[in-house]
């Protein structure tokens, strides 16, 4: 018997079950999605993000989003993901912003030296002030992780109420990328005398730019 079979047999024996014995359906998922107006969602997201120490920006156009990023990063150095939204808004062409990485070693090197990492976000969750990022060729994982400041651009239409709505919209996150990460505020630790310290391993600051102009976001 292989170690796998022996292992599974041990589990079955403990449970008094036979191989392939049918399983009743698990309890139905428990999801409840409150009805909240889009304007209230934005306000709620802002409040929760700011309570965590994040910085909230609301812009009406892509041009404004680009100006906002420029104000934050100055001359950089910054790394932007390959997300089409950032390209279209002109963020990837800003001075001091590097983008278009297709190879990991170069991306890693740039992220290690960057002061800012700029990404899109697939969704944001208002109840907890959370960003939802799926990894993809357009969104590398290290950009929201290595630089000390993370800037994310998200369309207002991608604002969800909370994790229940995310679970309803994306019931199978594994189908969308090798990694889904929920980012709720800056990196933090209270491991020393329960004193809050930001930016222990991940970014110490997070800026979220919510773009209200929906029609031009794919």
């Amino acid at each position: 018997m292989s170690s796998r079979e022996a292992f599974l047999e041990g589990v079955r024996k403990a449970l008094g079950r036979k191989s392939g014995q049918p399983v009743p359906a698990p309890p139905s998922p428990l999801l409840s999605i409150p009805a909240i107006t889009p304007a209230a969602l934005i306000t709620m997201f802002q409040q929760r993000l700011e309570a965590l120490g994040g910085v909230f920006h609301l812009v009406a156009t892509q041009e404004q989003a680009c100006r906002q990023v420029e104000t934050i990063v100055g001359n950089g150095p910054a790394v932007a993901s390959n997300n089409g939204v950032l390209v279209k808004a002109g963020i990837t062409s800003l001075a001091g912003v590097q983008s278009g990485f297709l190879e990991e070693a170069a991306l890693r090197e740039a992220c290690t030296n960057a002061a800012f990492g700029i990404t899109g976000a697939d969704y944001a969750m208002a109840e907890t002030g959370t960003l939802v990022l799926f990894s993809s060729p357009a969104e590398a994982r290290l950009i929201s992780l290595l630089p000390p400041v993370h800037i994310a651009l998200v369309a207002a239409s991608r604002l969800l109420t909370g994790i229940d709505e995310l679970a309803a919209i994306a019931p199978n996150p594994a189908g969308l990328g090798s990694s889904m990460v929920l980012i709720t505020g800056p990196s933090r630790s209270a491991d020393i005398e329960m004193i809050l310290v930001r930016g222990v391993h991940g970014p110490r600051a997070i800026h979220v730019i919510v773009l209200e102009e929906e029609s031009r976001i794919p």
Binding site: S3, R4, A6, F7, L8, G10, V11, K13, A14, L15, R17, S19, V23, P24, P26, P27, P29, L30, L31, S32, N82, F101, E103, L107, R108, T112, T130, S135, A140, R141, L145, I163, D164, L166, A167, P171, N172, P173, A174, G177, S178, S179, V181, L182, I183, T184, S187, R188, S189, A190, D191, I192, E193, M194, I195, V197, G199, V200, H201, G202
Partner: protein
């Protein structure tokens, strides 16, 4: 209890600095938890607890099915599942992998499961460098200790202690500012993340329908461990399985709130395999080591199987009057507090540390805060029964006689009243608590002064009931 264990407990209880740190940290976590699960913040809290309990129950009752489903989904996404009966097999797998990849440095995120199997020790024995990357765990590793609390491993260290540890172990200038200390760790560990060949994590949840490992954290070290090295290995007990990704909505709402009072921790990673085609970063290889190490023994007992429902939030530690006095290091195994008191005897055998299920006042606070509704006091009682049956010398004949006498008295109300009155008088004498069996008990405690009037007396004197 061994003399060393007794000494350890005396030292903890007699150390005012430790008592203050322990009391204030647990009180703070409790306070934040209470607010986060309040009806104002989370009106569906009780419904969520019940759902979490039912989901865990369903999964563990049919665990063979979910292990197979999980495995097939991991494989579908290009990962691999490794089955380990015990810590040795888990370590052997990692050793073989490190050898094959030529990896000499391993970065690790905090994992109670790897503490349980002493994975670091086993790997270091074979000349691998294993670096803990959670700030608290890193401090503990440098100090050569084991975690004091499931979620706050270095809660017993002051900033002065840490300044000394960093100065000695890292050769940096002494600095007592927690923020600076965190930045020292960030800088030192950043280099390790970027050069390590393998990243090892635990798992908070294993999602059967996705083949995914879910990890929650606040610092970002888990994201780094699972993203930067070429190889990611997650080591997890089989009890971490849940059926569907959608069920995370329930468990994540409970876990962060119960642990630290956070609706969601800073990072929740849902990892389903190595990097996909076209993805720029992420590991090339993804392994999940599924560990038994005694878990099937717990599964085989339908009454105590619920001990495996635990999601390791640590709320039962914070609320436990015993943990809050003796701290984490005085529990004999990796798991401390009420959950440690019920799982340790079941994993290691009830005769190994027979005193453990008795180190509880059965106040029930642990069951009240448990987000997955494990009936810890009931399991403690079952384990006490097992200890008495299987550890013949554990209960002394004097103790047995005392209980027999008590049972005999309880059946004779008049005699009982007389004995109770005598007891009340005795307990008020100046030498009470200084002689006899009470002296041993009172050495670390204050002997409570009995109430002036007994319950029966109060009952007789109560005002007559008026019908309205």
């Amino acid at each position: 209890m061994s003399p060393e264990q007794r000494d350890g407990i005396r030292q903890a209880v007699g150390n005012p600095k430790l008592q203050l740190a322990l009391y204030s940290a647990t009180a703070r976590l409790l306070e934040k938890r209470l607010e986060a699960v309040s009806s104002r913040q989370l009106p569906s809290y009780q419904q969520l607890r019940e759902q979490a309990h039912q989901l865990k129950r369903h999964t563990l009752d049919h665990l063979d099915h979910y292990i197979v489903e999980f495995e097939s989904n991991v494989i579908a996404h290009g990962g691999k599942v490794v089955f380990a009966q015990n810590g040795e097999e888990a370590a052997d797998f990692v050793l073989g992998l490190a050898h094959a990849k030529g990896a000499s440095l391993i970065v690790k995120s905090k994992s109670m499961t790897t503490e349980e199997i002493r994975l670091n020790e086993r790997l270091e024995h074979h000349k691998l460098a294993v670096v803990e990357t959670d700030l608290g765990e890193y401090i503990i590793q440098l100090a050569g200790e084991r975690p004091f609390h499931i979620i706050a491993p270095a809660v017993h260290k002051t900033r002065q202690d840490i300044a000394g540890i960093f100065q000695k172990e890292l050769g940096v200038a002494r600095d007592e500012d927690p923020e600076h200390q965190a930045m020292i760790a960030r800088k030192t560990l950043r280099e390790k993340f970027l050069t390590a060949g393998i990243g090892i994590s635990g798992a908070n949840f294993l999602v059967a329908d996705s083949g995914a490992v879910v990890l929650v954290e606040n610092e970002g070290n888990i994201r780094l461990c699972t993203t930067a090295p070429r190889v990611h290995v997650a080591v997890a007990g089989i009890e971490k399985l849940i059926p569907r990704a959608q069920d995370l909505a329930v468990f994540l709402k409970l876990l962060g709130r119960s642990a630290t009072g956070q609706p969601l921790t800073a990072y929740t990673s849902f990892l389903s395999g190595p990097r996909r085609l076209g993805e720029v970063d992420g590991p090339d290889e993804f392994y999940v080591v599924l560990l038994d190490n005694g878990r099937t023994r717990l599964l085989a007992d339908p009454d105590k199987r619920q001990s495996l429902y635990c999601i390791r939030c640590g709320a039962c530690l914070n609320v436990c009057p015993v943990y809050r006095k003796i701290g984490g290091h005085n529990y004999p195994w990796a798991y401390s507090g009420p959950i440690g008191a019920i799982i340790t005897p079941q994993y290691l055998g009830v005769t190994k540390d027979p005193w453990l299920p008795f180190a509880s006042s059965l106040c029930g606070a642990c069951a009240e805060v448990c987000p997955v509704k494990i009936d810890i006091p009931k399991i403690l009682l079952d384990l006490r029964k097992e200890v008495i049956e299987r550890s013949p010398g554990f209960s002394t004949s004097a103790e047995k006689s005392a209980f027999r006498l008590y049972a005999w008295l309880m059946k004779r109300p008049k005699l009982y009243a007389l004995a109770a009155a005598a007891g009340r008088r005795l307990a008020r004498l100046p030498f009470a608590g200084k002689v006899g069996p009470a002296a041993k008990w009172a050495r670390e405690r204050e002997l409570p002064v009995p109430a002036a009037k007994s319950f029966r007396q109060l009952w007789r004197e109560r005002p007559p009931r008026t019908n309205q």
